[in-house]
């Protein structure tokens, strides 16, 4: 891939005396075009709607993208190693069901529920990785299979019922457990930041995970090696890197991020809702792909993914405030994705070559 060229456009053109005057505009456009578009959107919505330009609005935009954003950061890890994870949406909903099951049916506390979810995410990621690396099943197919498997599996313990406190079990008895307040706080607690009760816990989790995965991918040896595996697995293998281990780790990361998303979803809804999670998957993948275009990276990157998620959030919440119906919003979301992909592959591709 030409990712290393695109990453440092200035350094890649050392001798271009005659071309240089033309370049900065284009280089600037490529690097900052998407961020400028985001800023433009924010300014537009601030003028077009009441209440958009407020700290509360900023917070709930972040909150609306927190779950898909976390899933998107996870899928970014698999994109980095040249893979893909279609099972994240169903991992998230399975984790949501598991959290509800552990607390409502098994009557355990919040910690057990969280640990169970993380374990499920890690285990599913591990299985994905093993199937892909050792059984040589293509990543899309392996994770597609896992997606269907999980959509079915999450319904088996309750025979297809949603889980809520006081639910009727398949055998006719009533579940005695309830969501613990500590668990619900993960989705509902708000931290003070200048204004009391401003920042929801889910947003804090998103920001912490975004910074962690960004630092991990960009600045640790492990992360850089994952990029190396993604750009040329064979070369990385010849260089002595344990390619399979890196790939498996990427799927474990993806699975665990997805399960964290599921935990936050369960905490926000306060129940285990049967859902395929396909919308979560699509929104997360969209955010990660839009992220390719941010800063002209032309490769999966955590910062871009976070900005991509934010971009979708700003757009959708702004449109909702302007009373735009949901189907128009889907259209706009799709259009943004197409434009971002064209931007990434056409504009940057040409620049790289």
């Amino acid at each position: 891939m030409d990712s290393n060229l695109a990453e440092k456009p200035a350094a890649a053109m050392p001798e271009t005396g005659s071309v240089r005057p033309r370049l900065p505009i284009r280089a600037l456009l490529i690097r900052y075009g998407f961020l400028a578009l985001l800023a433009g959107l924010i300014i537009f919505f601030s003028h077009a709607t009441r209440g958009f330009a407020s700290p509360q609005a900023a917070v709930f935009i972040l909150q609306s993208v927190s779950i898909t954003g976390i899933l998107a950061l996870g899928v970014t890890a698999t994109l980095v190693v040249g893979g893909f994870d279609l099972s994240i949406g169903s991992i998230a909903t399975s984790a949501m069901m598991a959290a509800a099951y552990v607390m409502v049916v098994l009557e355990q506390n919040a910690l057990v529920a969280v640990l169970a979810c993380l374990a499920i995410g890690a285990l599913v990621g591990l299985i994905n990785g093993i199937i892909i690396c050792y059984m040589r099943v293509p990543d899309l197919l392996a994770t597609l299979g896992m997606m269907f498997l999980l959509i079915g599996l999450q319904r088996i313990p309750t025979e297809g019922r949603s889980i809520a406190a006081g639910m009727t079990m398949p055998d006719g008895s009533t579940a005695q457990g309830a969501f613990s307040p500590a668990f619900l706080a993960l989705g509902r607690h708000r931290f003070d930041l200048f204004i009391p009760n401003l920042v929801p816990a889910a947003v804090v989790v998103l920001i912490v995970l975004a910074v962690l995965i960004w630092f991990f991918l960009e600045y640790t040896r492990f992360g850089r090696m994952m990029y190396a595996v993604g750009s040329n697995a064979r070369a990385a293998e010849f260089a002595g890197a344990p390619v399979k281990a890196y790939k498996i780790w990427a799927y474990v990361i993806s699975g665990m991020f997805a399960s964290i998303g599921g935990i936050l979803l369960a905490a926000r809804l306060g129940r285990g809702d049967i859902a395929s999670g396909n919308n979560l998957l699509l929104d997360a993948v969209a955010a990660a792909l839009i992220g390719f275009a941010v800063l002209g990276a032309a490769k999966p990157n955590a910062f871009g993914t976070a900005i991509g998620a934010l971009f979708v959030g700003v757009l959708l919440q702004g449109l909702t405030m302007m009373n735009v119906p949901y189907y128009t919003q889907d259209f706009v979301k799709g259009a943004v994705l197409v434009i971002a992909l064209v931007f990434t592959f056409a504009l940057l591709g040409r620049n790289g070559r």
Binding site: T49, R50, G51, F52, S54, Q56, A57, F60, Q63, S64, I67, T93, G160, R161, S162, A164, A165, G166, M167, T168, T174, R188, N197, P200, L265, R268, L269, G270, R271, D273, I274, A275, S276, G277, N278, N279, L280, L316, Q317, G318, T320, M321, M322, N323, P325, Y326
Partner: protein, 351 residues
């Protein structure tokens, strides 16, 4: 409110009647053919929608009534695949079942399949899907009455002038019918101003609606009433209102009910003040009873309507109702419907 009192009386009378008839109806010998030998009767439930509290409860009602009759029940679930649902009707015809309950679906895909079943001599009833067939009784929870009960309560609580947010997705039959009532109400009460309309069916619905509602209440802080005529919508709106800290200023009116809804309505300072609901289990029972009447050669009528009940936060709190079982026990009009109950019909046992 005249409505619910009238129905209360009717339902109470029906209950009394059913209670008196119960011992006589219990034994199979007293039932008309083919129920004199109910083990030989097989009915199929062909479903389009199955996930969600409502559909779970509906199925339990179908199962309970089938058990009370002593007939065999076969459940075919197409999980929102319209083509598969039509195939399943053909499958049921091939299996030689005696009766079919069609639960939801699309008119376009089910109309011909239903006709094929009728042509094959199978008795068919349809719930919440119009199959446009005179031989097929339509079981309905009255969506217009549901919306009307909730909106009448909104007028009672908030007067005739308020700013409203409305949650709606077009193209879903029950929501469209509820929408008709909303449009009528806005004409009847010009003081009602709809300042925002939103809605989505993206899974998980409550989460997606919460995100939208949060934007709406921020853009329109003067909204007093949220009309969310589907409980998943109401859940989402409630999450958003709680997060925005606006539960004092906004009242939510909705339709449908489940155990989770009851606990949401009963949370301290909950903005969700009332919902109108038909007991989905009762609708399931009525579906099977109407089919049984057809099989016995009786006519349940072309439109079999199950009346809804208004459930307010006040009632839930004062009677300390925590789940659907307690709701059925403490609001008998919710637990039973005096619909499609000829004298011989066995009724599922109540606890």
């Amino acid at each position: 409110m005249e409505f619910s009192r009238r129905h209360l009386g009717k339902i109470a009378a029906g209950l009394l009647g059913a209670g008196l008839l119960w011992p006589a109806a219990a034994s199979a010998q007293d039932m008309p053919a083919p129920f004199d030998n109910p083990g030989d009767v097989e009915i199929a439930l062909v479903r389009y929608l199955s996930t969600g509290d409502f559909f779970q409860a509906y199925l339990s009602g179908v199962e309970a009534q089938a058990k009370a009759l002593g007939v065999n029940l076969r459940v075919l679930d197409s999980r929102q695949d319209a083509a598969l649902q039509a195939d399943m009707v053909d499958q049921a015809i091939a299996l030689g079942v005696d009766g079919i309950v069609i639960q939801h679906g699309l008119t376009e895909s089910m109309k011909e399949a239903a006709q094929r079943a009728v042509d094959a001599g199978i008795k068919v009833v349809a719930f919440d899907v119009n199959v446009e067939n005179d031989a097929i009784p339509q079981i309905e929870q009255s969506d217009r009455d549901l919306a009307r009960l909730a909106l009448e309560q909104a007028i009672k609580d908030n007067g005739e002038e308020w700013k409203a947010g409305y949650v709606y997705v077009a193209g879903i039959a029950p929501l469209d019918r509820r929408n008709e009532t909303w449009v009528e109400f806005k004409e009847k009460y010009p003081g009602i101003e709809e300042v925002a309309q939103f809605g989505t069916l993206d899974n998980p619905i409550a989460n997606s609606v919460a995100n939208q509602a949060r934007s709406v209440v921020t853009a329109n802080p003067d909204i007093q009433v949220m009309f969310a005529p589907y409980d998943e919508f109401a859940k989402g709106v409630k999450i958003a209102i709680d997060e925005a800290g606006l539960s004092d200023g906004i009242n939510i009116y909705s339709a449908d009910i489940s155990t989770a809804d009851i606990s949401a309505m009963r949370e301290p300072d909950s903005a969700w003040v009332a919902t109108a609901a038909t007991n989905p289990a009762v609708v399931g029972e009525v579906s099977v009873r109407a089919l049984a009447m057809l099989l016995a050669g009786e006519d349940p009528g072309h439109n079999v309507v199950v009346p809804p009940t208004l459930i307010t936060q006040d009632v839930l709190n004062t009677q300390d109702i925590k789940n659907m079982d307690e709701l059925s026990q403490k609001l008998p009009q919710f637990a039973h419907a005096d619909v499609a109950v000829p004298g011989w019909m066995p009724i599922p046992p109540r606890d």
